[in-house]
């Protein structure tokens, strides 16, 4: 049933060969072909603009008030590309290899190699669009390091790389809107896929301002709707980020790949109380210069600055001398949890570790002193100069920390703790990014394809733009070339009417429950179950409990939910309830998947599968496959396995020591 359609031939030739032989659609035919794109983040906006430029008729949808607000905008640290501008030994092969290894050998080699190949074109394209990446004094582009690599291949724009890349893609999208090639539907949410003769042919969307349902036809439908980290309630995702588009596709027959693969990011601002609505990330780039530590003594209540150097435990540097503070995210997160669970945590909650810039500030300060030829500078003067350098590199992140916590991170070490950040799992797609529903594609974080069980830093932006700018323009044509005979299907076709009725019935069902509890309160409870039992550490016992608890929660949700207001007008509570209902179902599948995968790999840590030193123990014998789940009915899924074959990057136990 699963055909990944990986082209034959040597790994490094696959994409070129594919491009050389793929079917094309001629320009006059493109004008008659309509494509629906759901989501306008990096993947969606880049796909919409590129396909618009090619001459397709594109309709793009986003739930935000403007496509520029999609959550890609919040990505901070950077974007990887195998440019080797630093002459430090980087290459397409190394980026490919680092990504497969970083993903703990649970990604598809061919997809990852293609990603590494097109990474170089992404940077060119973005610079041409006017993305103001950081530059050196000579006027050329600057790079920095990210976790899990030993080269400097990350391009960045201070701590706002995602914002700058998205604005580049957004501007290209708006240009296509002005040219009439893209029609933009903001404040619209996709609520179902319409299938005709087994193929995706359109969507049902809710206009979030009027509350009215709309039917839209497309020869193909592209889901670029992001990840589902908000299933945990608290995550670094935007509050509106949701799984609904992917989940509707899943229920219409698209298999869901590796749902349990979640990335817990090591450096986030810790939870402060029950009122908390979201968690804020402190970019991984901070680990370039910040040092992570906890006190050597358990339950040490002294202030960070009062703890002398020899009473600190720089545990990442201690455990992983080769990579130190730049180990991959999964490793860093687990190490922080281990220290906190053992009683070495800091802050009021004791669920935090320090991220300390004091030594970098001093080092940069001294470098400035010698650069400027200054003499007679006291310690405070050196630190002030160092602060200026750190401010230029990370200023916006430090400001954000101060606003949230009320503490000045230039003076006191930051407190950080891991938080849900990204989901490697997503809709299963083949090499062409098509799901198991013909004509339905998934791009960017919405698909499962490139990051295996753990994503390396600065690779999400790369993948989103690779899929949208450089992959889908080729692969969608290969499908559409066979669809030329299909005329635009009128939206009063019975399949459209039926799909709209089902969406409408479900909305009415939600509205008519008239119980006592809010969607938000159900979401919070779901999040607690997921975080405690399907979070940083998972066990058979916990997962089995979680599945039962989620099923009970679902029952309660559908019998005691309260939504005020009416259907046919703006109703944010209704929108939220729609999303929470899908999150609950997804949560169950994530636990089922985590239970099936009785090995530790990447972000998925099964307590039953660890080494004596507490490191994750992968089991290639039994689990070198992609789990692709088929929806069969309520609480019922069938597992399909796509075996993973590694011809080039031979699996080894990952070591960052």
């Amino acid at each position: 049933m699963l055909n990944s359609k990986i082209p034959p031939g040597a790994l490094e030739n696959k994409w070129n060969d594919y491009k050389g032989h793929v079917k094309l659609v001629n320009p006059s035919n493109k004008r008659n072909i309509e494509i629906i794109i759901v989501g306008t983040g990096l993947a969606g906006a880049s796909a919409a603009s590129s396909l618009g430029e090619l001459g397709y008729k594109v309709k793009a949808f986003c739930f935000q008030d403007s496509p520029r607000r999609a959550h890609s905008i919040a990505a901070q640290g950077g974007i990887n590309a195998a440019k080797n501008y630093q002459n430090d030994g980087d290459s397409v092969f190394r980026l490919f290899y680092d990504t497969v290894k970083g993903g703990d050998y649970r990604a598809r080699e061919a997809n990852v190699h293609r990603l590494a190949e097109v990474s170089v074109s992404i940077i060119d394209q973005c610079v041409a669009q006017g993305v103001p990446f950081a530059r050196e004094y000579g006027g050329l582009l600057s790079n920095r390091s990210f976790g899990g690599t030993q080269v400097q291949r990350t391009f960045y724009a201070a701590g706002q790389t995602g914002q700058q890349l998205l604005i580049g893609a957004y501007q290209s999208l708006e240009r296509q809107v002005a040219l009439g090639n893209v029609e933009m539907y903001a404040r619209h949410e996709m609520l179902d896929i319409v299938k005709i003769d087994g193929k995706a042919r359109g969507i049902i969307a809710r206009n979030l301002v009027t509350g009215k349902l709309e039917r839209h036809f497309g020869h193909a439908v592209l889901l670029c709707s992001g990840g589902y980290g908000n299933v945990f309630y608290l995550s670094t995702n935007a509050l509106g980020s949701n799984v609904t588009a992917s989940w509707k596709a899943h229920k219409q027959g698209a298999l869901f790949g590796n749902p349990c693969f979640t990335q817990i990011h090591p450096t986030c601002i810790p939870v402060s109380g029950d009122h908390q609505s979201k968690l804020t990330l402190m970019s991984e780039s901070l680990r370039n210069d910040g040092r992570i530590w906890v006190p050597l003594k358990p339950n040490d209540t002294r202030k960070a600055a009062d703890i002398p150097e020899d009473e600190r435990d720089y545990y990442l540097e201690r455990r992983y001398p080769a990579f130190g503070n730049l180990v991959p995210r999964d490793v860093a997160s687990r190490a922080a949890k281990e220290r906190c669970d053992a009683g070495y945590g800091v802050g009021n909650s004791k669920q935090a570790v320090y991220l300390d810039f004091a030594s970098s500030i001093q080092r940069y300060g001294q470098a400035e002193v010698s650069k400027r030829g200054l003499s007679n500078i006291d310690h405070a003067g050196v630190m002030a100069l160092g602060e200026e350098v750190v401010k230029e590199k990370y200023g916006n992140l430090f400001d954000m920390y101060q606003k949230i916590t009320g503490e000045n991170p230039y003076e006191t070490a930051m407190r950080i703790y891991p938080a849900v950040h990204y989901t490697m799992g997503g809709l299963w797609v083949d090499y062409e990014l098509m799901t198991t529903v013909p004509g339905l594609y998934a791009l960017g974080e919405a698909n499962f394809s490139d990051h295996g069980a753990n994503r390396l830093g600065a690779s999400a932006l790369m993948q989103g733009l690779a899929d949208g700018y450089f992959v889908i323009p080729y692969t969608v044509g290969n499908y559409l070339a066979d669809q030329l005979a299909v005329k635009s299907i009128p939206v009063d076709h019975p399949a459209f009417l039926q799909a709209e009725k089902e969406v409408s019935d479900r909305i009415n069902r939600l509205m008519s429950i008239q119980g006592k509890q809010t969607a938000e309160s159900f979401h919070k409870r779901l999040g607690k179950i997921m975080w405690n039992k399907c979070g940083m550490a998972r066990s058979e016992e916990g997962l089995k409990e979680a599945i039962e608890e989620i099923r009970a929660l679902k029952k309660e949700f559908w019998s005691d939910l309260r939504i005020p207001g009416i259907v046919e007008e703006m109703n944010p509570e209704l929108d939220k309830a729609n999303r929470v209902a899908d999150f609950i179902e997804l949560g169950e599948l994530m636990c089922i998947d985590a239970l099936d995968r009785n090995e530790s790999c990447g972000g998925h840590f099964r307590e039953e599968s660890q080494t004596e030193e507490g490191e994750a123990k992968r089991d290639d014998q039994d689990f070198a496959y992609v789990s692709a789940w088929e929806f069969k009915g309520e609480h019922n899924w069938e597992l399909h396995k796509e075996p993973l074959e590694f011809e080039v990057a031979k699996p080894s136990q990952r070591s960052y020591k």
Binding site: S46, S50, E53, Q64, D65, S66, P67, R68, R69, H71, I73, A74, K83, S121, Q125, C126, V127, A128, Q129, G130, P132, F133, A134, R135, G139, L140, L141, A157, Q160, Q164, I167, Q171, E174, R175, V177, M184, A186, A238, L239, G240, G273, H275, Q276, S277, T280, L281, M400, K403, I404, Y469, F470, Q517, T518, E520, R562, P564, E569, M570, P572, E573
Partner: protein, 254 residues
């Protein structure tokens, strides 16, 4: 940091939709923690309203980390509240003390009609970008990224303008509801880079024309916009815009 709880009185603008008139409603909120964000305080109130079967206050918000530009509340007469260089979502309740009364309104500008309560329609900004806020380069056309060197100073200044989050606080603060700071930031972002040079003249002329068409007011250089901008876009960008516009008029053939 010392934490404390407080009781507050909120006066919030409620408006069912664009067609109906709005009014202020008064709400008491108690036991608000100084650690909450302003939006989390509204969340708590909304949860209460929802469980009472009343409609919660509608407001735009998404990333809650000051970058998406969705949130837009006019708090005690100032866009995004009292803190400098801040968005509503990053405003925290330690800015207030027990017993305070806080007035919350939507952005006020004809070009930003109210959709519901505190939510306004800012699609005019997208149309201004459509008029020319881009560099016309199709995917695949680019040369190597390091083929063109860009002076670091100019790249940095371009970036400082590109940081604009299009929240609309500049318009809300301006007595003329002018969108000049927003637009000048986009013009500066693109015209400071060599890549933006070929369309420099048409871009500024078309964007200004679109801004006028949308019903934004004129700029009288008072600087209210600059003082509330969450991303500290400088009013000198408006001066640059005047220069760009003038030079476009002198050198353009159209």
């Amino acid at each position: 940091m010392e934490h404390y709880n407080m009781n507050l009185t909120l006066k919030v603008w409620r408006q069912q939709n664009t067609r109906t008139a709005g009014r202020f409603e008064t709400y008491k909120v108690s036991e608000v923690s100084s650690e909450m964000s302003f939006l989390e305080m509204i969340d708590v109130l909304n949860e209460r309203l929802t469980s009472e079967g009343k409609e919660p206050i509608a407001f735009d918000h998404d990333c809650r980390e000051g970058i998406c530009g969705s949130c837009a509340m006019y708090i005690n007469g100032r866009p995004h509240g009292p803190w400098h260089a801040n968005t509503t979502c990053q405003l925290h309740m330690r800015a207030y003390k027990d017993g305070d009364t806080i007035v919350v309104e939507p952005w006020r500008a004809n070009a930003f009609p109210v959709i519901k309560d505190l939510m306004v329609d800012r699609s005019a900004f997208d149309r201004i970008v459509q008029a020319g806020g881009y560099i016309s380069v199709n995917t695949g056309n680019a040369v190597d990224a390091n083929a063109v060197a860009v002076e670091k100073e100019k790249a940095d200044e371009s970036f400082a303008n590109a940081m604009c989050i299009a929240c609309g606080a500049c318009v809300a603060a301006c007595k003329n509801s002018s969108a000049m700071l927003f637009m000048s930031a986009k013009v500066a972002h693109l015209s400071l880079l060599p890549q933006g040079a070929p369309e420099r003249n048409t871009r500024v002329v078309n964007m200004v024309a679109q801004m006028d068409k949308e019903g934004f007011g004129s700029c009288t250089f008072q600087g209210a916009c600059e003082s509330v901008c969450p991303k500290e876009i400088k009013i000198t960008s408006i001066a640059r815009l005047h220069g760009e516009y003038l030079s476009a008029g002198l050198t353009s053939n159209k």
